[in-house]
């Protein structure tokens, strides 16, 4: 497109800012981090504006054969664009959420967040297999530090579990990547997307990639690291974990598993469907009995991610588009919910649901925003959650009615646990004195939550803005996997043909 290497600049800005943060005072580090993330947000908006919808599949391509075996190859399609937008949108909010809550070692904290931003954008923009892996895996280091240094009481355990669990998942993928590079003779992702691997090898490769993405996603039963990591991480850490890092798994399925191994994806689709159906029901039930707010939202994330995976493996347009919208929507909504938890945690320093109650009385602004996000999480029409879940389930229905039936219960259960949470925290009487003393949202907190609320409604009312950039890519993907698409069990059967009878004939 243009000669301006915008993706490299988007990576360079936070990287330089991260280094700068280390050498300045705490307050200066806050401002540098905020400024850098806002610059990236502006660059991201410009990127979206310049993105040629209906143009070539890969845009803003940069390729410098810099590192011997692999090159500095960047480029985005519609999927990557949307997820990069999500990252750059949430990042300034994360910095804002940590403005006061983080008091110790601010410089390192801000640097860690900026490095995370670099790695997330890099993961979505990488067009070289090994470059992708490097960005994908390197993201563990700053998150490990964020959880380990600024986390809660049990942070050490959570940080180890997070790091080792996800690393173990990824090493198998790495070996698969080595094999693919040798088989195809290239590490260029667009080329690999059109390489047909032998079917028997596809199965192994698919399983190796599955090991990594299922852990990242996370899918049941590989999700156990998530509640620990979320509960122990600081608020902004949870936001970025739920908002963007969980999307890496879905993005991986979309970018690698489906187009590179279509036959294997079709043959092993039952595995994904089965695990997803279990995940929806099981984790929703688990969420219902949580007494810790963050844990509840963490389990709800697992349930929502299962809706993503069934949509992806439905092999049709509605399913894939729905999965992408659920990812974007969940990125916004769960981020907002974690921020909502963070707001009251900052005031009372507990996440116990039973300690709260009656917040609608003394925190009306908070109650309104929290309700909006609760509804979006439930999937109320008009919010982003509805669009995604509806499309995803509609796509799945064409393949398997049973799985759709099972997964739709997740929406009902989702309504149950979210409304139950909302009722216990916001409604009822103010019984505790310290809860009564809690002030309503400050200007900073409103400024953090309002933009997310706006985008959630925008996506719910006019999803076309978000679907349009991805439309061509969904088409490409659909065409690529069409040859392996499983036959659906709900194909419309021809009914009895009723011959229209002329009025009056019956009387004869």
């Amino acid at each position: 497109m243009t000669g301006f290497p915008i993706l490299t600049v988007m990576l360079a800005v936070p990287a330089i800012a991260a280094v700068a943060c280390i050498f300045v005072s705490a307050n200066a580090a806050r401002w540098i981090a905020l400024l850098a993330t806002l610059v990236d947000l502006v660059l991201g908006i410009w990127l979206w504006a310049q993105f040629d919808i209906g143009g070539p599949q890969w845009q803003f391509v940069e390729h410098v054969p810099l590192f011997g075996k692999f090159g500095w190859a960047l480029g985005i399609d519609g999927f990557a664009l949307m997820l990069i937008m999500l990252s750059v949108f949430l990042m300034p909010i994360c910095i804002g959420a940590s403005w006061i809550a983080i008091e110790k070692r601010v410089q390192e904290y801000m640097a860690a967040f900026l490095v995370t931003e670099v790695l997330m954008i890099g993961t979505f923009a990488a067009q070289d297999l090994f470059l992708f892996y490097i960005f994908f895996e390197a993201g563990l280091i700053p998150m490990y530090l964020i959880i380990g240094i600024w986390g809660g009481v049990n942070r050490i355990y959570a940080s180890y579990k997070f790091f080792l669990y996800t690393l173990l998942g990824s090493v198998l993928m790495f070996i698969a990547m080595l094999w693919m590079a040798q088989f195809a003779g290239t590490t260029d992702i667009p080329t690999l997307l059109n390489t047909d691997f032998p079917v028997h090898a596809q199965i192994w490769l698919w399983l190796a990639f599955f090991a990594s993405f299922a852990v990242k996603m996370p899918m049941w039963p590989f999700h156990t690291w998530l509640p620990d990591a979320h509960v122990q991480a600081p608020t902004a850490g949870s936001v970025i974990l739920a908002g963007v890092l969980l999307k890496l798994g879905g993005y991986g399925f979309l970018r690698f598993s489906l187009p590179m191994f279509p036959e294997a994806s079709a043959q092993l689709g039952w595995l994904v469907f089965g695990l997803s159906a279990v995940a929806v029901i099981y984790t929703s039930l688990v969420a219902l009995v949580q007494s810790d707010m963050k844990k509840l939202i963490a389990y709800s994330s697992v349930a929502h991610m299962a809706i993503v995976t069934i949509g992806l493996f439905a092999f049709n347009r509605q399913g894939i588009e729905g999965a992408m919208i659920v990812m974007l929507s969940h990125g916004l909504v769960s981020a907002a919910l974690f921020l909502c938890v963070g707001v009251i945690y900052d005031r009372l320093h507990t996440r116990e649901i039973s300690r709260y109650g009656g917040l609608a009385i003394n925190m009306p602004k908070y109650a309104i925003l929290f309700m909006l996000f609760t509804m979006a999480s439930v999937g109320l029409p008009g919010t982003s959650g509805f669009v995604g879940e509806f499309l995803s389930l509609a796509g799945t229905y064409q393949v398997s009615t049973t799985i759709t039936l099972l997964c739709t219960t997740g929406i009902i259960l989702g309504a149950a646990y979210m409304l139950y949470l909302y009722r216990r925290v916001v409604f009822g009487d103010l019984t505790e004195d310290d809860v009564r003393a809690m002030p309503d949202l400050s200007f900073r907190e409103v400024a953090l939550l309002a933009p997310i609320a706006a985008v959630v409604l925008w996506m719910g009312v006019y999803p076309e803005s978000f679907l349009a950039p991805m439309r061509a890519d969904v088409g490409t993907l659909e065409a690529r996997i069409a040859r392996a698409a499983p036959a659906g069990d709900s194909l419309p059967t021809p009914g009895k043909h009723v011959t229209p009878v002329a009025h009056g004939e019956a009387h004869q």
Partner: protein, 479 residues
Amino acid sequence: MNASLLMILPEEVLTLGALVLMLVAAWGGQASTKAISWTSVAILIGAGIALIGPASSGGEAFYGLYRADAFGAFAKVLIYIAAAVAIIVAPRFFEQTSGDDLRPEYPVLILLSAVGMGMMVSAGDLLTLYVGLELQSLAAYVLASFMRRDTRSAEAGLKYFVLGALASGILLYGISLVYGFSGTTLFTSIATAYGAGHSMGLTFGLVFVFAGLAFKISAVPFHMWTPDVYEGAPTPVTIFFASAPKVAAMALAVRVAIEAMGPATDQWRQIVIFASLASIIFGAVAAIGQTNIKRLLAYSSINNVGFLLVGLAAGTAQGVASVLFYLTVYVAMTLGSFLVVLQMRDVSGEPVETIASLSGLSQRRPGLALAMMIFMLSLAGIPPMLGFNAKLAVFQAAVDAGFISLAVVGFVASVIGTYYYLRVVKVMYFDEPAGAFQRGNSIVEGGLITVAAVFVSPVGWLLLTPLGVWTATAARALF
């Protein structure tokens, strides 16, 4: 003959330099220590310069006894760098540590050891190999027990000597078998003998030679000396042990495997694969319980040798190139992490070695903690550190040669190793500071740590292209 003399120029420079310095030491005594140290570094640099020309491209010298090729030259550059670092950091260490002072023999012994290592990596004959190995080892035995009044150091020297002598015996036995059944000690002729057909005697010889070499590179099951020696030896000597002789022994093993026993690849590959996986797994599991940082790094080096052997098991030019690349990164990581250990001193200046004493380092000395974190993550092979690229290279070679299951097991086992590297990061970054820590006041050591950390950090990626070319050229020399 004149051409041969030119080809061994680096060894001549080192030998003459060491002999002259020994005389200077004899007359100059204790006072000349510093001057001799710096002159030794200059001699090592001179030997490095002498590598340009016939010494790196001459081919065979002394009727095949000695090889002057790019492979040997590449290994020698690494050896000289490591030896120079071990000499540079010694004076300050001995000055600050109570007990023995640094004596001028120290740099001279390292120079002599470097001569031996140069012979090892350039050997074209089993006898050159053995003489080089013994010259290196004898100097190393003395260095291990350099702090004569320290019981741990004396124990390390004795242990190293006894076990080293045993290993030399095994190696010699293997050499004699090979000689007996092939009638020659020249690598090229031995290769012909292996190619001629199966012979039980030659196979036995191969097994014993590899067992002897496995001791020198401290691969499991011949690793047991490593933690004790690394812990007991004075830290500058440990720096030396962990880097230069490892490079020499590994390069020697590669040369013997490819040049002398290339036709028997299928036979030695089984040994190499076993030693590789055993080293990776044992090195990872045994390190978990360690509380002493030097012992931890010793197990880490066992673990890394396992990864190096993965590249050798591939048995291809690509595999050899990956071994050389891994060795380069390994030397940087090892030198760097041991240099950080060298900085670990309490307020009174005495060295401390427990991992717990690193706690809260990121708040007391953020730069040092950052460097150590880079080294630890690089040793664990986490991207974007250069240690990841090294693992990428060896596993790519293994997968390309068709050893997918080896790659899978090796890489999955590397996750176990990640645990204890992360523990060091955890202690430095998550724990609260415990006790005071001496401020770093050596510009040279700080500079060396910075150079090593920058090299293994993502900045080092910029060197991947030239390093790829050099290692490929060096590897081609063997095929």
